[in-house]
């Protein structure tokens, strides 16, 4: 389980997160939704320690992130996998080197063992025969899948995905969403997913937290989200003419 407790974060005068408290459960897809610029990425980066939190704290299991020393942090980080918006694959390494990278840095495995693990992770995301390609030679969807394979290489307990299907066509987006869901349930990972895509919400939204102007505005799941009478939430959920008409707004 991951918990954010009363987290606030500003950049200069711009208060991006205002007293956000939210719990993310293990073995489930916990979605954080909100408009572009609402603070989803900042919240995620505060939780994993890429940004310093101004107030409040993030808790992983029983460990409080902000009270950790550099070395304790390093240990927790080896239990975290993260999927970045653009994939963030290392340009200078091919697919298999990218997936093997965390294993080379943190395990004493032989090259054969690492390769076996990398191939397993790649097959887990349905990628075969691309081991020697460079990131620049991959399509958007393939990059995301390699990034997922790299994120799960170390068997993480926590998985963070920032807009995993942005920039993908609807079919590929769906494939990626379901892949993350499968992996989450199979390994009992605590998964946090940022998205502004309603398709993902309906597909995999076990728990959904809606962030608006840096505040936690609403919480529920994929079933209750369509029934809510929260005005800001409905503006987000029923953003298009078509959906507004159906909802009768």
């Amino acid at each position: 389980m991951i918990e954010a407790i009363e987290i606030s974060k500003s950049f200069g005068d711009n208060k991006v997160l205002d007293n956000v408290s939210v719990k993310f459960e293990a073995g489930r897809c916990n979605l954080v939704i909100g408009q572009s610029g609402s603070g989803k990425t900042v919240l995620m980066k505060c939780l994993v320690g890429l940004f310093e939190i101004d107030e409040g704290r993030g808790i992983f299991g029983e460990k409080v992130l902000s009270r950790m020393s550099f070395d304790e942090m390093k240990l927790v980080r080896q239990e975290i996998g993260m999927l970045f918006q653009g994939g963030a694959l290392f340009d200078s390494m091919n697919v298999e080197q990218n997936v093997m990278f965390p294993l080379s840095m943190f395990t004493e495995q032989s090259i054969g063992e690492r390769l076996e693990r990398a191939n397993f992770c790649l097959s887990r995301v349905n990628l075969e025969n691309v081991n020697k390609l460079l990131p620049s030679e991959l399509s958007g969807g393939m990059k995301k899948r390699v990034a997922i394979a790299r994120a799960i290489a170390m068997n993480p307990r926590y998985l963070f995905c920032d807009e995993p299907n942005s920039g993908l066509d609807p079919h590929t987006a769906n494939v990626i969403d379901n892949l993350i869901k499968e992996i989450t349930e199979e390994y009992g990972i605590t998964t946090v997913i940022n998205t502004h895509d309603m398709n993902s919400v309906i597909e995999i939204g076990d728990r959904v937290s809606f962030i608006h102007e840096g505040k936690l505005w609403w919480q529920g799941d994929r079933d209750t989200i369509l029934m809510s009478d929260n005005k800001e939430l409905n503006n987000f959920v029923f953003a298009t003419k078509l959906t507004r008409k159906i909802k009768g707004l």
Partner: protein
Amino acid sequence: MNNFLTHIGRYILLMRLVFKQPEKKSIYFRQILIEIEHLGLDSVGIVVFISIFMGAVLAIQMAFNLDTPLVPLYTIGYATRQSVVLEFSPTIISLILAGKVGSRISSEIGTMRVTEQIDALEIMGINPATYLIFPKIIAALFFNPILIMISIIVANMGGWLAGSLTGMVPSGEFIYGLKAFFEGYDVFYSLVKSVVFAFLIVSISGYHGYYTRGGALEVGEASTKGVVNSSIAIIIFNLILTNLLLA
């Protein structure tokens, strides 16, 4: 001024991070070899090309300016060698390397920053400053002095060639001049400069890359800043070192 001090402060903090204990030594050893290739071996061609021509030009200019019977001809060889060893090779070649190597470092690290590759390293529990900058610094500290030595040898050859081919200085006179009044300390001074300049180039361009914010445009800006600021630092430290070592 305030801005300048902020940069200096952030630069020093970054350097403290860079020299933290690396995660896994064997990986770093490999990284250093890769950087020696990218930052060092790949620069040999341009260093040789520039040095041979600059040495030739230096010798011809010396010959023109010392064209009086009062000065023996071998002085041209001697003066060419002194300019090459003391100033041309360590300083001018370092400025050229600031352009070539510095822009490569800032844009490589800057691109990694804006595409979140640095965040990805950090999330894995790796110290990105050490992982990215430390091997480059070690590679440059090791290989730049070698480049400067190559430059010194090639530039003197260029001078000798120009003197002989134009017939301005007979080969024997030039070579006699090259060997005359030789002081090992001058070469030491030259090597100290090249080591200090190597550190400045990598650390300053690495700094500008590491703190890039934004996108492709900012990566370009970071690369320019890396080159300009490491060149300025080289010029300033050139004066400081000359005062310390030769005065």
